[in-house]
């Protein structure tokens, strides 16, 4: 049992929930990262881009501040001094994964934040179905990679 990690997860989760509530209270928008940033980079809508860019800058600068502060507030597995963990694979794997994540969240209108954090909180049936779907395919993918191909690595 790693109660410290679970507690850190809970505290971070509450912060994410507060972020989503804040964005709804102030701007009336869903805090979906793929929607906010995807629309920013692919469409750059006039009069609707500045807040998206500001959200992206905040998203990057939060963890950056913790890195600069020295890392004690991170929750990286096995490395208490770190805030950002190592990638799980090399460039080739990430190109495939990134394409699937971009394509999938683009077609499916959302990711873990839009469908997960926001959609579940709205009790949206579409978001519940999407969240269940991507959790299942992600778990199956990890099972195949780690236990069928990788031999339990």
């Amino acid at each position: 049992m790693e109660w410290h990690s679970y507690l850190a997860g809970l505290v971070g989760g509450v912060l994410i929930g507060l972020s989503a509530t804040w964005l709804m209270v102030t701007l009336g928008r869903i805090a979906g990262v793929s929607g906010i940033i995807g629309t920013l980079v692919t469409a750059r809508p006039k009069g609707d881009s500045a807040w998206r860019l500001a959200f992206l800058l905040g998203l990057v600068s939060g963890p950056l501040a913790l890195v600069i502060a020295g890392g004690e507030l991170g929750n990286v597995l096995g490395r208490p001094e770190a805030v950002i963990g190592e990638p799980a694979g090399g460039v080739a794997l990430m190109l495939v994964a990134g394409l699937l994540v971009g394509l999938g969240t683009g077609i499916g209108s959302g990711c873990t934040s839009g469908h997960g954090v926001c959609g579940l909180a709205r009790l949206s049936p579409r978001s519940m179905a999407a969240t269940l779907t991507f959790l299942i395919t992600a778990m199956v993918t990890v099972f195949v990679v780690r236990h069928l191909i990788g031999g339990g690595a």
Binding site: S5, G9, S19, A20, V33, T42, L95, G102, A129, A138
Partner: protein
């Protein structure tokens, strides 16, 4: 003012991802690996976020409109279709391969690596590709 509000939202979101350990793909993959050394941290993150936001949204909707915008912009569709489920399925495969979903991928820029650069570039390419696809499919 709306730019500052969005920056604060992004900042809170990024801090939440980093504090919870979701900027570590090993933690995410550890949660997704039900048949290995299962790491339940992600369920505390998602649970904390959804419950907090559930009550937050209820408070927000008591107002006639947001503080700095004319109206709440909420999705209205409730039907399930092939694009929603197919897209979510593809996303899950990419998530399971990398341990990165879009939020943590961008939030991890403070510890940038070549694999992360590849992840972000391919994700953006995927968003362009999704936009180029016909809307019926």
């Amino acid at each position: 003012m709306s730019t500052l509000m969005a920056y604060i939202a992004g900042l809170l979101f990024g801090l939440g991802l980093a504090v919870s350990g979701m900027t570590d793909p090993a933690r995410v993959l550890g949660f997704l690996d039900l048949f290995g050394a299962w790491d339940p941290t992600l369920i505390f993150v998602l649970g904390g976020a959804v419950v907090t936001n559930f009550f937050g949204y209820r408070l927000a909707r008591r107002r006639p409109h947001p503080l700095f915008a004319a109206a709440f912009q909420l999705p209205t569709r409730r039907d399930l279709d092939g694009r929603l489920i197919g897209g979510a399925a593809l996303f899950g495969i990419g998530w399971g391969l990398s341990g990165y979903c879009p939020g943590p991928a961008f939030a991890s820029v403070a510890g940038i690596t070549w694999p992360l650069v590849a992840m972000l570039a391919a994700m953006v390419a995927g968003w362009f590709l999704a936009r180029a696809l016909p809307s019926q499919g």
